[in-house]
Structures are given as C-alpha cells and as structure tokens.
Symmetry: C2
C-alpha cells in the first residue's frame, strides 16, 4: 500500500520488471532484452541504469530484502501478531514478490542465506522466550528445532505452486496461506502422534548409532510404521 517516491521512475519500473521476470523464470533465463521489453524501454537503458545484469540482480535482492525486513522491523519485541496481520493486509503488495523471494532461498544467494540465518536467530529468541514463560515446550535440540521451524515456514514459499495446486487454487493467495497457517498451528498445538513410541524409538536409534542409521530399522519398524513415514518421509 505505502508507495515510495521513486516507484514511478523508469529505473524502478525496470527493477520491478526484473523482479517479475526473475521470479517467473529464474535469473539465468532472464535476458536484458526481456527485462527491457517488459519495462517498455531499450536494452541499453537497463545497463545504463544498473551497470550490468549481475548488478541489476543484486539491486533486486537489496530491494526485496529491504522491503521484507522493513515490514518485519516491528517484530523485535512482542508485537509479532501486529506485524503478521500487517503482512496479511499488505498481501497485494507482497504477492508479486513471492516468486522472487522463493528463488532467493532456492538459487543460492548471499542475500537469501543472510535472510534465512536472520530468521533462525529470530526464531531462537522467540523459542527461548516461549520456553521461559511456559507457553512452549522445551526441546532436546534447540538449534535444530529453530532451523526446522524456519524451513517449515519457508516451505510455504519455495513450494507455493504445489501447495496452491493441491488446494485447488491457481496461486497461493491469502486464503490458502490462512488455511495452511491454521493447520500448522493445529499441528504445533496438538501434535501428530498420539503417543511417544515413534519418538522414543527414533531417539534411541539415533543415540545408538549416529554414523550407521541402518540400525534404525530394528527400533522403528514395529510400534507405528505409518507414523515414521510422515516424520522423515520423502527426503
């Protein structure tokens, strides 16, 4: 909603065209001429404004990172839900960036790595706080849990196309995100397994033989076969 002063300049139009095309097809498949056509200018002007294609890419990265972290600035202390609902309210603004954001984590960039690590740090803090005030369960591996939660959250981004398709929606919109968020909170509240047999077996197997996971077979198989699948599943 909030429009910045330079949103109407030609340079900004070129940057937005690049974000759209890179998000749709990836950086390697995005040519300077394609960006120029999308922005309604000549190919030379793209280089005139940004120097090179790589610099255009980093300009896009910087812009996206700045926009995303700006909306997340309020999260520093307590007011998380407000930041999230603001996020939801501004969904129309964010939507064209979702594909680009996904590629940020997927096409190995320094910007994506920094953002991911920042999320992990933030989550570590939230978990600490939650455990301290009793609203969250403690964990046997704090760091791994934080990494897992961030990866889980970002999977809505990197797998958005598949999720949307399985929700019978042409694209992952605010409704689909709400549906997935609700079911995630349900999962994080009630859990999936009704007893701890799977967890106990896996823990024993892992402490038993860290280097030879084949041992897991003897421990995991009996108690609850289908459960084990949903835990590790396809990867």
């Amino acid at each position: 909603m909030r429009s910045r002063p330079d949103d109407s300049t030609t340079k900004a139009r070129i940057r937005d065209a690049a974000i759209a095309l890179i998000g749709r097809n990836g950086f390697a498949a995005t040519s300077a001429r394609a960006v120029a056509t999308e922005a309604g200018v000549s190919a030379g002007l793209v280089i005139h404004h940004f120097g090179s294609m790589r610099e255009l890419k980093t300009a896009c990265d910087d812009f996206i990172i700045a926009e995303v972290t700006h909306r997340k600035a309020g999260m520093g202390k307590g007011d998380v839900s407000a930041a999230i609902s603001e996020w939801y309210g501004d969904f129309d603004t964010f939507e064209p960036w979702l594909a680009y954001l996904s590629r940020l984590f997927t096409d190995a960039s320094e910007a994506g790595a920094d953002l991911f690590d920042g999320f992990v740090q933030l989550t570590l803090g939230l978990l600490d706080e939650g455990v301290a005030n009793g609203s969250m369960h403690p964990s046997t591996d704090d760091r791994a849990r934080a990494v897992l939660l961030v990866a889980h959250s970002l999977s809505l981004l990197t797998l958005q196309a598949h999720i949307a398709r399985n929700l019978n929606s042409p694209r992952l919109d605010v409704e689909g995100l709400g549906r997935m968020g609700t079911i995630a909170v349900e999962l994080y509240t009630r859990g999936l397994y009704s007893d701890s047999s799977t967890f106990d077996a896996m823990r024993e197997a892992n402490t038993h033989a860290t280097r030879d996971p084949a041992d897991m077979r003897q421990h995991v198989q009996d108690p609850d076969p289908p459960s084990a699948a949903a835990g590790i599943h396809p990867s």
Copy 2:
C-alpha cells in the same frame, strides 16, 4: 548400491553429467557444451543421443523419478520403516541427486508436480490409517494437513543448503538429516505450544472472516504473541 546394466554406457554418463550440472546450476544455466565437457564427449554427441536439450532434461526427470519411486515402492503397505532405512543406507547413491530433486520441485516441472501430488496422496492414506488405528490425532482439515506434511518434509530438500549451513555442515548429510528427522518427530509428538490458546484464537479468526484476514489482529494478538510468529512466520 544396485548398479544398473547401462550405468557405464556413454549415454548414461552424459545423463549423469547433466543431472549433476543441472542440480548445481539449474537447467537454464546448463549448456550442451558444459554437459559434454563434464561427460568427456563432444557437444554433438549429447544431441545425437537425446535429440535436444529439452529432451535431455525430460530424460533426467524420468530417470530421477524412476529411481526415487523405485525405492518408495515398498511403502505401499506397512513396510514403511524398512523403505526409509533402505533410503538411509543408500544415501551415498542418492546424494548426487538431491540438488536435482530439489530443482524438480522448485523449477516448476510436470514431473515434480506429479511427484508432489503422489506424496500428498500417499500421506493422505497414511494419515487415514493412523487416525483409524488411533496412533495419530484427527485433524480439522485432512487435505491441508497432508499438503503441509509433504511441504514440511520436502523443505529439507529445497532448503538443504541453508539447513546444512545452520547445522555447521558443508552439505546436508545423513547425520544432519537424522538430526532434523529426530527433531521433526519430537515436534510432531509433543507439539510446540503447551496450551491451545493460539490455536483457538486462530481458528476463531479464520471462521469469522475468511475473506478479510486483517480481522485476525484483534483475535490473535493478546494470548501469546511469540507463538503466533512461529506458526506462520516469514511467509
């Protein structure tokens, strides 16, 4: 471990080179000449054997899909844990394909879509079974839960680089996967939240206003701010 008869043929060597390069750099950034050099042949031979670069890509897709679904064939009925431990045992075989597999879901391909949808169908069945025999909790949205679990699992693939880095490992190896799998089962067993206030608030907000999620602010904010963040978080 099981080596197929044509693994040593030149055509197979070209295919493997393509899988490695596409996995590392993406399809758009992988040239016929690069594949040829990696395989130790001429560029012309690549096209001679596969017809075109697109056909080489689909040949790689088909090969990977066949290999992955082959190892998962035993999952049809009950013997899930055996399939998983076989998966772990053959990790050295799978490892060079992890990057390619990730791109399969990330770079919008029909093969990746089919695989994802297959996982969702499989998970739906496992969840049904688990709920029926009492080993898993029922859900308010069966389909969304299945989709979420598949997305969560595949996030270990699409975000493998970031996960490995945050686990202080150069790449996501069998040890890191085991660590993430353990913490996932822990999360799915004990849950994250120690009470249902976050879940209740989110449910009420969503049934209240499906089309206008801005309403969520009033409902979600008070009970447990940090909790809400971990549920939806960055996306």
